[in-house]
Symmetry: D2
Subunit: 229 residues, 4 copies
């Protein structure tokens, strides 16, 4: 929804924007080679092999010497999963205590049902009529909650109290900083068929920036079955 | 709401329970004294002074050699603030993806309004009629959202989709582990007049366990203006 | 070197002592089951399978809800490798700035040579005469360095300056706290054929306490090829 | 010792080089303002006040959205103090297991004695003759240890064994990554009169880069008595 090439629309109404980065495959290589007292100013051919080796044998620390900063707009139920990730991750988020919430809510395009046994669920789209009624429920609850929120504010109720009626589908915004290693941990768990569809869209978008800025690292990550070091 | 003496009711419907702990003032003292190659098996009188000194001069690492584990039941808007705390904190929470949510929601007893200028807000109770109407709004939205949630489940919509209508007032449950230093960081920010009323109740309950198990550490924390080392 | 059953001699002159712990398989199970809002007060048979599943699929957070505290005496070259481990680890160590160092140094029983190509080294014992001469070199340097240290102290040189002559073979002592997950990370890297012989002895000793206090977790760790979640 | 303007000589033989950075005052401001859903593309005048407020009230998370990467050459006794700093810090160091150590050792120019009572020590230069004899001791032990190291290598002893004779005065090299908040924590403890002279030189050099890249943050840090948020 932006001309900025670093902003990627995610879901209906959200986005993930690369606010800045300082990340390269060379920094991984140098952090590994410093253990032999040997660093260089450019990648060499054999360095791809070194990166694959570090990834495979789970030598994780060389992947910490880089930086990504994202600005993310996502529904709260996604944010709650995202902010589970602690080591190497930093967050600052829009606060409903200090500022008025805006009426933006996520209504899923992909309404699904769970099939299979516990522990081995898969998902399938629901029938069109169920989809329409679910979308109407979700949109309706959001509108009704937001109207209640506004009525309470008009009566002078503090924002921090009034916001408690708002649903998990509400959009919020936050800065997210991480290093390449913590980004890969996030992607290994969230850009996965076991992750919820919605957070996976954000993880895919973030992983694309990893692939762009650190192509050898990303190739090794894929070759390693997306298992983070 | 429990006969278990380690479970403390918090808010209307929530609790904070000490699920276990391994924490003592002696461990702080020994971690400090090991720098002089001198540890002991019991606190001595001068050790209170040592703890006060460590706290005041922000020597934080000796306060990391202990452990608290809590089981917490709190509304989601509280949990979101709690889980901001990352370094030295571990969490595992009830998931609305895997299990059906129960119809428990927080309706505030203390409905307040914000007075004063930005940056220097204080809170005051609203008038009784506003309070009743706000409580009715909050309870009404919760009921309506839960009914929508159940209707969607009946139609076969996946739990992870249906839950997105549920409000931030919904109760959830989680295990929380931390060390004494990270517990003090939590208390310094959340058992504070700047914190939201609701999370402060949890922080007070947690701080009482710190006071009980590590009385000298807690006294030094208070003497230090509740500034964590 | 101690009658205390929780102190394990390691190397010639060192030890690893369990100073205290609060750790159980049940805490892992409960931290996982809370996601289904279902916790219990005792392990059930199926819970071993749950632990194996968590380990295999790298669901690491349930393994953070426990605590181990060790007192360790080790040579500095071992400590430097140990203290690389950061996330979930806390340390406090004897300081040569504040107190006089004692004349205790590690002289290896197992003197080895490196065989094979870079990246695929193995080690073999050296010939007896080389062993004796290496041990004499190491012991001799330690004595000579300690004598220089003492001469400087006698002349009034500050301890923090004089200590800089002391060798990496010098023994030091420290408290080490960690959670079960961070302990397994340490063991996966250090109780390994790729680790240096000396640190491996400490990692083996620490892993034995994990096996004792969390037998199902340890069994799953082994079944997982000692790959930490 | 380098024409590279980002390499700062530290001590006799060491250095601290800024290998790269992605850090600005604006990122602090935006991370704070996102809580009001208000970010901007340039600093405004009032933003300095915001940074001072965040520093003073210890709102630390907005200072995590930046990145510094240094290459450091320092004696081992300095590195051991440095690597105590864990949260928000990443390190990769030259390894004496894999590569031959070079004969570079730190011999202090400033040889001092400790005066005053425990807990309130200060330092004073020793007399010229004591200084010369201490420098000769330190240099002599280093030479003797290095000769023993080389003799053992010649006899085929593994590098990881032979290196244990080397003293704490030996120079090593490492990459160090941190965020502005963790950098300030390091500087608050190590660019301090309580820190050892040698590590303080490194902390001063690192703090100069903070001042250069984040002038408003650094000014607020100073105004706060160098107490990190």
């Amino acid at each position: 929804m932006s001309d900025d090439p670093t902003t990627v629309p995610v879901l209906d109404g959200g986005f993930l924007a690369l606010d800045g980065a300082f990340a390269s495959d060379l920094a991984v290589v140098n952090a590994a080679r410093v253990s032999f007292n040997s660093t260089s100013s450019a990648m060499e051919e054999r360095d791809e092999g070194l990166i694959r080796y570090l990834m495979r044998d789970r030598h994780g620390s060389p992947f910490e010497h880089g930086y990504f900063r994202f600005l993310v707009k996502a529904p709260i139920f996604v944010v709650r999963e995202h902010h589970r990730h602690r080591a190497g991750h930093s967050y600052n988020e829009w606060s409903g205590r200090y500022s008025r919430i805006e009426a933006e809510f996520y209504v899923p395009d992909y309404v699904r049902t769970q099939v299979g046994k516990p522990g081995a669920y898969t998902f399938e789209s629901v029938a069109p009529d169920v989809r329409e009624s679910a979308r109407a429920e979700i949109a309706g609850q959001a509108e009704s909650a937001f109207a209640a929120y506004e009525r309470m504010l008009e009566q002078g109720v503090a924002k921090e109290v009034a916001r408690t009626v708002l649903p998990l589908s509400m959009f919020t915004k936050y800065f997210w900083s991480c290093n390449p290693r913590s980004l890969m941990h996030f992607c290994s768990l969230r850009n996965s068929e076991h992750a919820q569809f919605e957070i996976r869209q954000y993880a895919e978008a973030a992983e694309a920036f990893l692939a762009q800025l650190m192509p050898s690292t990303h190739a090794a990550f894929l070759a390693n079955g997306r298992s983070a070091p």
